[in-house]
């Protein structure tokens, strides 16, 4: 059982370097005492997750549109593996198309975040999502609450 502790592990998978930088800066500015791991694509993610020495992330921010293994494929693989059942997955994408939202909802993601176009909003989103009561959120999950709006 993952609890909300100071040493919360956050993992971001995004092929866009700038977006990884924004994310990292936001975490820094939020002064959250989190462990942040940044990965650049789906293959890296799947390789990373099976490393024996790592600590599984509490929250995985997953971009959808990536070269190699896409976010959706990663989502399906992770949700098919019981070892990762406690990992909360937040989809983190530019797209807000109904199809992507529905597919990831069905695929077992916990929340869908549309990448904000304002840095302050980004900080707000990260703060809220990281501090989210996942148990509460997941128990009342439906397609309306799935899409996170700031």
């Amino acid at each position: 059982m993952i609890t909300h502790q100071d040493s919360m592990h956050i993992l971001l998978v995004d092929d866009d370097e700038d977006d990884r930088a924004f994310f990292s800066e936001a975490i820094q500015e939020l002064k959250m005492n989190n462990k942040l791991t940044l990965l650049k694509d789906g293959n890296d993610l799947m390789d990373y997750l099976i490393l024996p020495e790592i600590k599984l992330p509490h929250v995985l921010f997953l971009d959808l549109n990536m070269p190699g293994k896409t976010g959706i494929e990663c989502l399906k693989e992770i949700r098919a593996d019981t070892r990762f059942k406690d990992v909360s997955i937040a989809i983190y994408s530019t797209s807000s198309s109904e199809k992507d939202i529905e597919d990831t909802f069905i695929g077992g993601a916990n929340i869908y975040i549309k990448k904000p176009n304002d840095f302050s909003k980004l900080k707000k989103v990260i703060k809220e999502v990281v501090n989210m009561n996942w148990q509460f959120h997941t128990s009342g999950l439906n397609i309306e609450t799935f899409f996170f709006s700031v």
Partner: protein, 598 residues
């Protein structure tokens, strides 16, 4: 009318004719027997007359003899009693005649026999008298006695002959009376015969006339039918053919020949001749289908091509089926339609359809570019702008700050434009799934979604009681979001925006203006504001794509919002109207058909 009806019934007429002929035959036979009888009577009368004549002749001959004898006795002149005196040739002849004439009448025959005896007797006396007269030593007394006796015998004979003549005459009279009577009968019979014959003739003639008229009428009808059929075939571009499977004979309609590009009856209709006009590539297929059908008697349908002598290519739809004619022969009837124009149209349509599909795919790809690929860099630009604003804004000069805010505003405007473009394209394609949509719930959601915006503008939004309509939920939501956003955007400076949304009944004038036959056919939802309004002359234009009325920078429209509204209402088979007054506000009227019209 009834008689005419009977006329038309051939069966009745046949029976009547048969009866009439029987009657004529009967009357004819009666007439014949009457004529025969009449003939017999006439013969009898003639016979009787002849008998009388012969008797008279006989008497006169005897009288001549007597006179001659007397003359001889007085004059002793031999010339009176020459050879003919003793010759009885004439008498014998007359007797013979009389016997023949009375051969059928025994009574008269007896009389003649008696007469013959009397004549014999008389001639005996003649001879005796003549002998006495010739004798030189004749006694005048004897002669006188003989003459007296002769005179007496003559008297008796005359009396007898007169009696016979009388009886014959009586007989003639009776026969004559009979004859008259029979003649009258015969005349009546003959008249009847003529009358009935005339009647039959008249009836037959009439019947014939009626039949001919009917035949002519039927013929005319058939002719007309044939003509109209020919015309119909020409108009419809089709021809038909028949093959009698028993006699193996083909017949083609005029227009079938024309379809093959030749004049009607240009060649003898048969399979070999017609196959020449079929496109060489199709001959085998068509012939096989036809031949197979002759065996299995199945309905056929095929599309093939005619290649006419002029090189014209025609697409033909040919169908064939089987039936039996009046004589019980199996017939295959086929109809060939010229479907060239349809076929070409279909080809063209298919081509266009493919092009359209291609264009649609392109559009979709383009749409993806707009909605995702273009938004991605734009979002990053905005992120960097927000980073700059946070960290470096203060170090900029006044002009730098001004430029910077313009960059930010332009990036925002671009973002709005992209969002609107995506929204607009979503109204064009995509699933149009209609479901019962509670507008009250939709408006509640919108109030929530737009709450920040509403609060910012210090706007008042009044929502009346709205109906549940059959709609595409996300589109109808988009419609009201756009209208309310619009009202908020184009609000008057210094005035709190007031937006009213309500469901109203359709007025008589609207029914007239928008040709609504029943006010129950549509929902009418009104969205009104107290914003800057517009001139009524632009009422139609504002729904056009990228049509903007306000060019002032503070009104940051994309020119897509109302076009999206119009599109959505269109998708719901409804229509949207607007009334505007500069400085007063705008009223949008949305007419959405109730369930049944969709």
């Amino acid at each position: 009318m009834k008689i005419l009806g009977l006329y038309k019934n051939s069966q009745v007429f046949k029976i009547a004719l048969a009866i009439a002929i029987l009657v004529v035959c009967f009357i004819g036979s009666v007439f014949y027997s009457q004529m025969k009888k009449l003939d017999a009577t006439v013969a009898l009368i003639a016979n009787s007359n002849k008998t009388q004549l012969e008797l008279e002749k006989l008497l006169s001959v005897i009288s001549v003899y007597e006179t001659n004898l007397r003359s001889y006795i007085i004059t002793k002149d031999e010339s009176y009693i020459q050879d003919r005196f003793l010759s009885r040739g004439k008498i014998e002849e007359s007797i013979q005649n009389l016997k023949e004439l009375t051969a059928n009448d025994t009574l008269a025959n007896n009389d003649i026999n008696r007469l013959q005896i009397l004549i014999e007797n008389r001639f005996k006396l003649f001879r005796q008298t003549l002998l006495i007269a010739k004798s030189k030593n004749a006694v005048p007394l004897d002669l006188n006695e003989k003459l007296l006796e002769s005179s007496h015998v003559t008297q008796v004979m005359k009396a007898f002959v007169t009696k016979i003549i009388f009886s014959e005459s009586a007989k003639t009279k009776f026969q004559n009376d009979n004859h008259q009577f029979e003649l009258r009968d015969s005349i009546i019979t003959a008249f009847l015969l003529v009358l009935i014959s005339l009647l039959i003739l008249w009836l037959s003639f009439n019947k014939m006339n009626v039949d001919i008229a009917e035949l002519k009428k039927a013929n005319d009808k058939l002719k007309l039918l044939n003509e109209s059929y020919n015309t119909a075939e020409m108009t419809a571009n089709l021809g038909h053919w028949m093959v009698n499977l028993t006699s193996d004979t083909y017949s083609f309609s005029d227009n079938l020949f024309r379809l093959m590009g030749v004049a009607p009856n240009a060649f003898e209709p048969n399979l070999e001749n017609s196959v020449k006009y079929i496109h060489p590539d199709d001959v085998e297929q068509v012939t096989k289908l036809h031949m197979d059908s002759l065996v299995n008697r199945q309905y056929t349908s095929t599309i093939f091509r005619y290649l006419t002598a002029k090189g014209e290519l025609k697409y033909i739809m040919g169908v064939g089926s089987f039936t039996k004619n009046g004589a019980g022969d199996l017939i295959k009837i086929g109809v060939n339609y010229d479907i060239t124009s349809q076929y070409k149209k279909t080809l063209e349509l298919e081509k266009n359809n493919k092009e359209l599909q291609y264009i649609n795919k392109e559009l979709e790809a383009f749409n993806n570019i707009v909605s995702h690929d273009l938004q991605e860099p734009l979002r990053k630009i905005q992120m960097f702008i927000s980073r700059l604003e946070e960290k470096e804004f203060e170090v900029l000069s006044m002009q730098g700050k001004d430029y910077f805010s313009k960059v930010r505003a332009t990036a925002n405007r671009m973002q709005n434009l992209l969002i609107d473009l995506v929204d607009y394209s979503r109204t064009i394609k995509g699933d149009k799934v209609f479901s019962d949509t509670d507008l009250n719930a939709v408006l509640n959601e919108i109030m929530h979604d737009l709450s920040t915006n509403i609060e910012e503008k210090k706007a008042v939004v009044n929502v009346g009681n709205l109906p549940i309509i059959k709609a595409i939920p996300f589109q109808i939501k988009q419609l009201f979001i756009n209208l309310i956003s619009n009202a908020l955007k184009y609000s008057k400076e210094g005035t709190h925006p007031e937006i009213n949304i309500s469901s109203l009944t359709i007025t008589e004038k609207e029914m007239q203006d928008y040709k609504i036959s029943n006010k129950e056919d549509y929902y009418k939802i009104v969205v009104s504001d107290n914003g800057i309004g517009f001139k009524q002359e632009y009422a139609e234009k504002i729904f056009l794509l990228f049509k903007r009325l306000e060019t002032d920078a503070k009104y940051s429209g994309t020119g897509l919002g109302l076009a999206i509204c119009s599109r959505i209402v269109d998708n719901h088979k409804g229509f949207i109207k607007v009334k505007g007054e500069p400085g007063v506000g705008a009223e949008f009227y949305i007419f959405i058909p109730k369930g049944d019209l969709l």
